[in-house]
Symmetry: C2
DNA sequence: GAGTTTTACCGAATATCATTCGGGGGAAGT
DNA sequence: ACTTCCCCCGAATGATATTCGGTAAAACTC
């Protein structure tokens, strides 16, 4: 789908305030509400806008500790990767997990309440998965930037 | 702020669909629209809900390559950390940046169009920052999980 | 280039929604 | 027992989303 400047402006605005009313959005992009709504619907149906979400503060919901874990798997069997991926998707503590090139196999981003909770998660859940050979934990000490908006 | 079960249900729902109407949300949590709205406003003002955002598909906006970069700084001067943090916050390619314990100094998550764009970003922007001693790039090959919702 | 189709837009009408307000009722506190 | 506070409700109203017919310009066809 081809995006013109008005589309990009809409996307920039909705990334910052996903609940802005359509009439206010229309004012900001100098279109009628009807035309604006039509553009937004098109962006939604074409998949440019995946969804809308409320972003919560991790601290206030008892998820104050953020960690990254490098995970290396045994390469003995092909479906070990699949079963690892499946298991990780089912873990609520894991917010993101990527297969990466360049030294280890998976990079896992996890949110837990505190260091105790992380120790339990690592020992009782993550390292118990079949095929996990080695892990290395990086504890986040400071959030320098956490910008979920994409630069359009 | 203390959250009861209804609050948590509201948060779970709004994380999945940040644009749900208040009347539908009220139906789902078995409250009147007025009471539901009051709860949502309270969650917003207390900071549990930080904001609402439209989540875009990176591919469709030409940001198909996701990379993680480990960055090590010279520890010669204290304000090198500050200037690095400041510079990183101003880079649109950097979506997240954390100071981490455990072997290197910063973990940077960046989105770019392709490998060429990444090479340019690394060579012309990131490694040119004062104090950057060493970088190590991990290219994401597969997105196993990318769940921005917090487990409530 | 005349005709045709497509695309994007508008304004008005209507259905739906957000928001406010007065008040009820139960729990906690005095 | 009384007061206070908290959470809830229903009704009213003002704002909004959404639909629809119509217009004009661009793109496409012959």
């Amino acid at each position: 789908m081809a995006l013109d400047e008005i589309d990009r402006r809409i996307l920039r605005i909705l990334q910052k305030d996903g609940r802005m009313t359509n009439v206010e959005l229309a004012r900001l992009v100098n279109l009628s509400p009807a035309a604006t709504l039509e553009r937004v619907r098109k962006l939604e149906h074409s998949g440019v806008i995946r969804n809308y979400m409320a972003r919560l503060d991790p601290e206030t919901v008892n998820l104050g500790l953020l960690v990254f874990v490098q995970v290396t798997l045994d390469r003995t069997s092909a479906d070990i990767f699949d079963s690892f991926a499946k298991a990780v998707r089912a873990m609520p503590q894991v917010s993101e997990c990527y297969m990466v090139a360049g030294g280890f196999d998976y990079l896992v981003k996890a949110r837990v309440r505190d260091m105790n909770a992380y120790r339990a998660f690592l020992g009782k859940t993550l390292t118990r998965l079949p095929g996990v050979r080695q892990t290395h934990t990086y504890t986040v000490m400071e959030e320098v930037k956490a910008d979920l908006e994409l630069p359009i």
